[in-house]
């Protein structure tokens, strides 16, 4: 099987399986095969040769698929996470007809996510991106609770806004480039409008502050496997999109600055909002915001200093991989945590949590070190950035602490944990330890050096310190954590305001019907009445015309009028 076919098979397999779900009789059982849909992707990520490229002129606008190093990393992450989540979903979702529906949307979103990773042309990238975004809606609202609907609407609304912004940005790129292949697009530096649109459009997906509002709502609302892929894989699509469409070097440095600022703000704000949360999945969501902020800032640095890009980009890929795996492990672990005892729960969540916080020997350590390393070598002083990154790591530890506390607290509902739950979780947990070693470049082993380790450890220490104090304080009665920031932070006041406006609008339907509607209404209701009156008048006139006096007067009048007309015409005509 040539790479040509194989590349296409990566996004195609889930779609084919989806089609199989629609088969009569057997279809309703085929959802069990969902995990297998990632196999081509996984195999591709592992074994496809470097620089694999394929062109499908018949597909869409002429589709190019390719696998570059960045793509390979993301493909691996995506395949792994979707596969794990798929297995997890087998056991997590109870029986019921909605299960097939879940798997259908799951497969669609999977196809989109895999497709956008291997996409090498703008149109296919956008197609996959949209497919993923929209299908994910099906995952968010799956539970059909009020909460899921609310989260779903927010998600969908923002995703759509992002979608059209992306679309417009892409159109602008393509217009400037004169073609829609990625390589073609790269030849031209994007225009300002395109940049802003792409920044925003992909930023929604990447949870960039202030476009992150959907994240803390959607994650807790979605079923666990969905949250896992959402947070682990899908939000990375935003990052990937930036890397692909706004490659460092071809964008102005100012954009990098913007990204850095937004990234650091996001990293900090994620922590700040996260620690005040009372639901573990929300905490994890804020953690994702924070982590994505870190990655955004990293990319920003690469944009500011294109010279650093060759080092930073692989680091970012690795970081994404690390975060994805760890975050997914945490989500899956949260699902298990409820079913087991407190300590077992902590055991499931400890390792990925620590990895996120950058515990040495974990993927976090490798990723963070690799990310920061080039910054130290930068020709300019980036200490502010690195300091920010480190502080955020401290925050991450706090968040993880909050996560552990919440996951081990509350009521337990002990239930057996089937293999379909613990196996994928275990794979991911192990992945947080194994993957970086397997994938990181040689110099990643520098992470073991003392100085970087210290650089990694002091934020953790800071976290431990603050966390410890907080935990101690919490022992006093009345010293509970204040609900300073509600779930979905900014969305809550926005929603309240929006409801007010909507309420007003819904009370005033005339407002919406006015431009044409009011006119049409007047036309429909007013005209017939006028018309009827006119008809009556004409009918009365007709009876009048029947009178002989009138007839005679008209007859003579017509004669006189015509005479006058002819006479006047004759007088006035130039003879």
């Amino acid at each position: 099987m040539t790479p040509d076919t194989w590349l296409l098979l990566i996004p195609l397999t889930p779609v084919l399986l989806l089609a199989a779900l629609a088969l009569p009789v057997v279809g309703r059982h085929l959802w069990r095969l969902t995990p297998l849909a990632v196999l081509p992707a996984l195999a591709g990520a592992l074994w496809l040769p470097e620089g694999a490229w394929a062109f499908y002129p018949w597909l869409l606008l002429g589709t190019e698929l390719a696998l570059d190093p960045v793509g390979r990393g993301f493909l691996l992450l995506t395949a792994l996470l979707w596969g794990a989540a798929a297995v997890y979903a087998q056991g997590y979702l109870g029986a019921g007809p909605a299960r097939v529906r879940f798997h259908a949307f799951f497969l669609l979103a999977m196809a989109g996510n895999l497709g956008l990773v291997v996409a090498a042309d703008v149109a296919f990238f956008y197609t996959s991106f949209a497919l993923m975004s929209l299908a994910a809606m099906g995952l968010v609202v799956h539970e059909q609770q009020f909460e899921s609907w609310r989260a779903g609407w927010v998600y969908l609304g923002m995703a759509l806004v992002g979608e059209v912004a992306l679309f417009t940005g892409l159109i602008l790129l393509v217009h400037d480039a004169g073609g829609h292949g990625m390589s073609r697009v790269w030849e031209q530096p994007p225009g300002t409008a395109a940049m802003i649109l792409l920044l925003g459009g992909l930023g929604v997906k990447a949870g960039m502050v202030p476009l992150h509002l959907w994240l803390p709502l959607a994650h807790p609302a979605a079923p666990i496997p969905a949250s896992a892929v959402l947070s682990g894989a899908m939000i990375k699509a935003g990052l990937l999109g930036w890397m692909r469409l706004l490659p460092p070097g071809s964008v102005p440095e100012a954009l990098g600055t913007v990204l850095v600022v937004l990234g650091l703000v996001g990293a900090g704000y994620g922590v700040l909002a996260g620690v005040f949360q009372y639901r573990v999945k929300t905490v994890l969501a804020y953690s994702s915001i924070s982590q994505m902020g870190l990655m955004t800032a990293g990319l920003g640095v690469a944009m500011m200093h294109p010279a650093l890009a060759p080092a930073l980009i692989p680091a970012l890929v690795l970081y994404a991989l690390h975060h994805g795996v760890a975050k997914a492990a945490l989500f899956l672990g949260v699902g298990i945590a409820r079913r087991v005892g407190r300590m077992a729960a902590l055991a499931w969540l400890l390792l990925p949590g620590l990895a996120l916080a950058g515990m040495p020997l974990t993927s976090g350590a490798v990723a963070k070190t690799l990310l920061k390393a080039p910054m130290y070598d930068a020709p300019v002083d980036l200490s502010l950035v690195t300091l920010g990154l480190s502080t955020a790591a401290a925050g991450t530890f706090l968040l993880m602490l909050r996560c552990w506390v919440l996951a081990t607290g509350g009521l337990r509902e002990p239930r057996p944990v089937p293999v379909s739950l613990w196996l994928p979780c275990l794979v991911l947990v192990l992945g947080t330890v194994v993957l970086p070693w397997a994938l990181a470049p040689e110099d990643a082993f520098k992470a073991l050096a003392v100085e970087p380790a210290l650089a990694l450890l002091w934020p953790m220490g800071l976290g431990v310190l603050i966390g410890g104090i907080a935990l101690l304080l919490a022992r006093f009665p009345g010293w509970t954590l204040p609900r300073l920031i509600p779930e979905g932070d900014l969305w809550v006041p926005l929603e309240r305001g929006g409801r007010g406006v909507l309420g007003w609008v819904s009370r005033t339907p005339w407002f919406w019907r006015m431009p044409g509607g009011g006119f049409t209404l007047a036309l429909i209701h007013g005209l017939p009445r006028l018309w009827a009156a006119w008809l009556d008048r004409v009918a009365r006139g007709e009876r009048l015309l029947l009178r002989w006096e009138i007839l005679g007067m008209l007859f003579i009048g017509l004669v006189l009028a015509m005479l006058a007309a002819v006479y006047l015409g004759a007088v006035m005509a130039p003879s």
Binding site: V559, L560, L563
Partner: protein
């Protein structure tokens, strides 16, 4: 009602205005002799001596033919309106009418015939003759409506249509003979015209009587 009153006052005013203008127009007519000269010039080929008869039965024979047709059509139209009502007129009482008629009818018949014959050279003609004959018939109808012998229907129809038929036949013959529709061979003009006039007079007389009856078809 005001409207009607307005109409009542306005109408005479408008009529006056029309009258005034019409009078102006009529008085504006230039004195001219019209077709007198062309008629006089063509009299030698007309077949008859009297110019009015020449116009009627030769120069404008088509008009006259259609006029006969109008008369026939009038009877048909009257008949088509239905024949339901009874004869309203009872026989006239008293001897005066009967006595007068006894003398008048033969005179009328002779006069009518004369008028037709003299039409070729002097005032008179089919219509005048037919009218006199018809008047005689009407008188008879008035005096003894129930006692007159009525023609059977087919004969009535034939009699009525005879004038038109003969005229049409002659006119068509003229067409076929190359003298044009409603044209006569110059030599045959006089007898043909006289024949047409005679037949037409009879038809006219019958028509007038039947029109007077107005669809009240005898008994």
């Amino acid at each position: 009602m005001t409207r009607h009153r307005a109409a009542a006052t306005l109408m005479p005013l408008m009529s006056l205005a029309l009258a005034g203008l019409l009078v102006v127009a009529v008085l504006d007519l230039p004195p001219q002799s019209g077709l007198a000269e062309p008629v006089a010039g063509a009299m030698d080929r007309a077949g008859v001596d009297h110019p009015v008869t020449a116009v009627l039965l030769n120069f404008r024979a088509y008009d006259t033919f259609l006029e006969l047709a109008v008369l026939l059509l009038a009877v048909l139209a009257v008949w088509s309106l239905g024949r339901r009502d009874p004869i309203p007129a009872r026989p006239v009482q008293g001897p005066v009418l009967h006595g007068t008629l006894r003398h008048l009818i033969p005179v009328a018949v002779v006069t009518g015939g004369y008028l037709v014959w003299v039409g070729s050279s002097d005032s008179g003609g089919a219509f005048q003759g037919g009218a006199v004959l018809g008047a005689a018939g009407v008188m008879l109808m008035l005096s003894r409506p129930r006692e007159l012998p009525m023609l059977p229907a087919p004969l009535q129809r034939l009699g009525l249509a005879l004038g038109v038929c003969v005229f049409l036949a002659v006119g068509t013959a003229g067409l076929l003979a190359g003298h044009g529709f409603m044209g006569y061979p110059p030599d045959w003009a006089y007898p043909l015209i006289l024949g047409i006039e005679l037949v037409a007079a009879l038809s006219i007389a019958l028509t007038l009587v039947l029109l007077f009856l107005g669809g009240r078809h005898g008994h």
